[in-house]
């Protein structure tokens, strides 16, 4: 049934509504694909029985004429969304036995709209990573390894590596991810798919295992911009259980895909032109500029002066918040425990054993930058710089409607390439982190292939709560670059 998995979300939705195929058939096709693609290690848990059950319920509704917006759509769920009755690990040994009795708001809304859960996607531990190499459940293989005939295993990016690889490999029609500093966009770029990080506050964080509270956002990873728009419409919405959730109405994001960007002002920030960025990425960026220009947009040079400080700012704020958010993992109420006779020993050894190296590193950094004597120099300083970074965007957006940049500073790299060099790993997020710090919506579109035949992404950043412009511009880019991507084909 390889045809079924080739359909994108909008197409499958139509096929199911038109009763060309049943939700059950679609789900079964995906479950089989997951089996064939198991070696990629995209999933930590598979929920086959549940998926079939949900698909059958979708079919019943469709039969009785009560179809829901996402009925029968098989999706993967990043394993940091708490799913009731289903193992939720956040990629960590610490939660390797954790089955929540509650459902995250975002996934609740997806099931409310009829979507089908295929399984929980692999991810970097506690969302800390850019290559999905810190998961307790093993690394994920980028399907482009085989597609582009690479000898060494390529990483899918991270932290939503499992989600991105699954969508790219056709093991899931779409997947949810989370983006704190680039964790949806960068893997989307590495895997040649679409990844959308909405504005901060657009989607509820209730029930998402928290990494950095002021940055985390849920978002879709899909094959097309239209699919992302459809999924976001279901995922988004004000949640009174999340105090940081914005009380703004959710439009039908699909309607933003007018294909018309005439008169749209596209900013090109000069500070994103970095020394050392491969020329093919510069070339892709140029291509993107030309595409939008040809479509009637005007190109404006803008400056975001504090761009280069975004990464160090992020690597103070995110670990600081994480060090506090991860304090609850103490072996007392849930999760793993290393039994000891003394309480302090129990804390120390449980957390020594339950957390991986990268997580421990970030907790230590975070603890340090918040500690007495260092708070002002680090954390407070970082929050001031963050304010300046946001101000840069606010000022630029007085003259433009969206910004165009590359998504990642490289193509997907081999799995052992950035070993032992955390900073090199952090640099993967250089283009994605600034929008995270400012809370702005941003999308990554597959822009083309590198010389080695690997996907490269283009990023559109928009104003706060203006996902519509982001989707519109992204759609136009996709239309022009889509054929390049199609040519590469899938397995």
């Amino acid at each position: 049934m390889s045809d079924i998995v080739d359909l994108n979300l909008a197409e499958l939705k139509k096929a199911i509504i038109d009763k060309d195929l049943s939700a059950k058939e679609a789900t079964e096709a995906y479950l089989q694909a997951m089996e064939r693609g198991a070696h990629l290690n995209c999933f930590i848990s598979t929920t086959a029985d549940k998926a079939i059950q949900m698909a059958k319920a979708s079919d019943q509704r469709i039969e009785s004429g009560n179809a829901l917006p996402l009925d029968g759509i098989p999706i993967g769920v990043k394993d940091l969304f708490c799913t009731s009755g289903v193992l939720t690990t956040a990629g960590s040994k610490m939660l390797s036995n954790f089955v929540p009795e509650y459902e995250s708001t975002v996934t609740e809304q997806l099931w409310r709209d009829g979507a089908v859960m295929l399984g929980k996607c692999n991810m970097d531990e506690f969302a800390m990573g850019s290559a999905n190499t810190t998961s307790h459940f093993g690394s994920v293989e980028n399907p482009w390894t085989a597609r582009a005939e690479f000898e060494r295993q390529l990483v899918p990016g991270g932290s939503s590596g499992g989600s991105a690889a699954a969508v790219s490999a056709g093991l899931a029609l779409a997947a949810t991810g989370s983006d704190t500093g680039g964790s949806i966009r960068q893997p989307a770029s590495f895997c040649g798919i679409v990844g959308l990080k909405p504005s901060y506050g657009r989607c509820s964080r209730w029930g998402m295992v928290a990494f950095a509270s002021s940055l985390d956002q849920a978002g879709p990873l899909t094959r097309t911009v239209q699919d992302a728009a459809i999924l976001l419409t279901s995922m988004a919405g004000h949640d009174p259980k999340d105090s940081t959730s914005a009380n703004v109405s959710v439009p039908n994001f699909e309607l933003a895909l007018t294909g018309d960007v005439k008169g749209m002002r596209v900013g090109v920030p000069k500070e994103y032109k970095l020394e050392g960025t491969p020329s093919e990425i510069e070339g892709l960026w140029e291509k993107g500029i030309e595409i939008l220009k040809a479509a009637g947009a005007s190109i404006v040079d803008v400056t975001l002066p504090h761009t280069k400080y975004a990464l160090p700012t992020y690597y103070i704020i995110a670990p600081a918040e994480a060090s506090s958010n991860l304090a609850r993992y103490d072996g007392i109420r849930y999760g793993m425990r290393t039994e000891q006779e003394d309480l302090q020993d129990m804390y120390q050894k449980t957390r020594r054993d339950g957390f991986g190296e990268e997580v421990k590193r970030r907790i230590l950094i975070g603890t340090y930058v918040l500690s007495a004597g260092y708070y002002d120099a680090y954390y407070l300083k970082a929050q001031r710089v963050r304010a300046l970074i946001k101000q840069d965007f606010d000022e630029a957006f007085e003259n433009v409607d969206v910004l165009l940049t590359p998504t990642a500073p490289s193509e997907a790299f081999a799995i052992d390439e950035n070993d032992n060099d955390p900073i090199k790993m952090y640099l993967n997020d250089v283009f994605t982190v600034p929008a995270s710090l400012a809370g702005l919506p941003a999308i990554s579109i597959p822009g083309g292939l590198s010389n080695s035949g690997l996907p490269l992404g283009l990023q559109i950043i928009g104003k706060m709560f203006d996902e519509e412009s982001v989707i519109k511009a992204g759609g136009v880019l996709e239309m022009a670059t889509g054929s390049d991507m199609q040519a590469a084909g899938k397995e």
Binding site: P100, G207, T244
Partner: protein
Amino acid sequence: MTGFIEGRTGTWEVVIGLEVHAQVSSESKLFSGAATTFGAEPNTQVSLVDAAMPGMLPVINQYCVKQAIKTGLGINAKVNLKSVFDRKNYFYPDLPQGYQISQYKQPIIGEGKLTITTEEGEKEIGIERLHLEQDAGKSMHDQHPSKSYIDLNRSGVALMEIVSKPDMRSAEEVGAYIRKLRSIVRYLGTCDGNMQEGSLRCDVNVSVRRIGAELGTRCEIKNVNSIRFVQQAIDYEARRQVDLLENGDPIDQETRLFDASIGETRSMRSKEEAHDYRYFPDPDLLPLEFTQDYVNEIEAELPELPDIKRARFISEFELSAEDAGTLVEEKTTAEFYEILSNGRDKKLSANWMITELFGALNKSGLELNESKVDADAFGDLIDLISDGTISGRIAKDVFGEMFDTGKSASSIVEQKGLRQISDSGVLTVLIEAVLSENQDKVAEFKEGKDKLFGFFVGQVMKRSQGQANPKLVNELLKEKLSG
């Protein structure tokens, strides 16, 4: 205790500051919708948020914010229209999140003050700030040989932490401060002030110094839950510090516990390291903001507070400062008095309430709201005294029976025929009988033994089973004997 300690080498002054944790009288917790009632079965008042499950988030309780503002107004404090919630990070089993949501640099309420009255007179005690924070759960260390048991019912309950300036100088002042603060929050209804149930807990900061010297090193005595224990702890701790200093030893700045069974403070072992709480603004919340209009609305709804009421009782009702103070200490007492004295003699009402009613309540261990005699019923008794139906002497007996049985004053007076005899004719007959039976004494009186007048009055009263109107008896007897 005057507050000065005579040491071996001279006089020392005790300096005390108090941090009072007052549990907000709300239905649900500060950041979660779980219930707050005292004494529930373990872990039955715990939401997923309170248990700090992965992905859980705080949402603030509007009512708790209002109560904090009310309390701030009640202590004449500055209300900050913008305040921030910070995380106070540390590890302890009864702190599920691994941090407490509190307020650090920008609390909701700023500086304030309240007035206390002690034997030495009135004194103003400064208040540094009031902030909102989460309470922790409860750990029990005596249920199992090698384990401690954790109950999270209390985890997340709203507390107002009220920090005084180090303005107190004696255990007596501290007692007065706690009582005053307790009285204010009970008046406002923001906290029930029940120290036995832990609704009001005190951390006491004690230091000593030579008079006029810089502040000494202080020790904090945590979680003392009765005024008596607070005072005992202060007395012990001040002595301990003086003894150390007079021996040339330094005071270690530390946290201590008060052991009520032996009346001593001791060092808390588990808090031996200097704490680094790594406070930072809670990123799951936004700054708390409200308008001055909102504060003004709240202020307009405040009940009359004890100090104002007391001043009014003194100036308008001409009660003594002491009586006024007694009547206003509890809101329910003041309300009772106000109903009782409405349209009646203010002083008479006050005297009877304080002497007879409070006396009976104390003796029987009952609270005012448990009394069988309510304000209206008591008022009826006062009326019978005022209009001369019964004498004060008889009224005491009538009250006793009212208190025990709940019967009305009138019904008791009727049933027992206790009406005061004010009929001059009847009284004259009694007087003549007494005088004729005691002619020798009458003779002695006429010769100058004035004291015997009282004897005659007494006899008349006896003959009338106490029901003779004493004033009238006095008048008539005077007439009779002068002739």
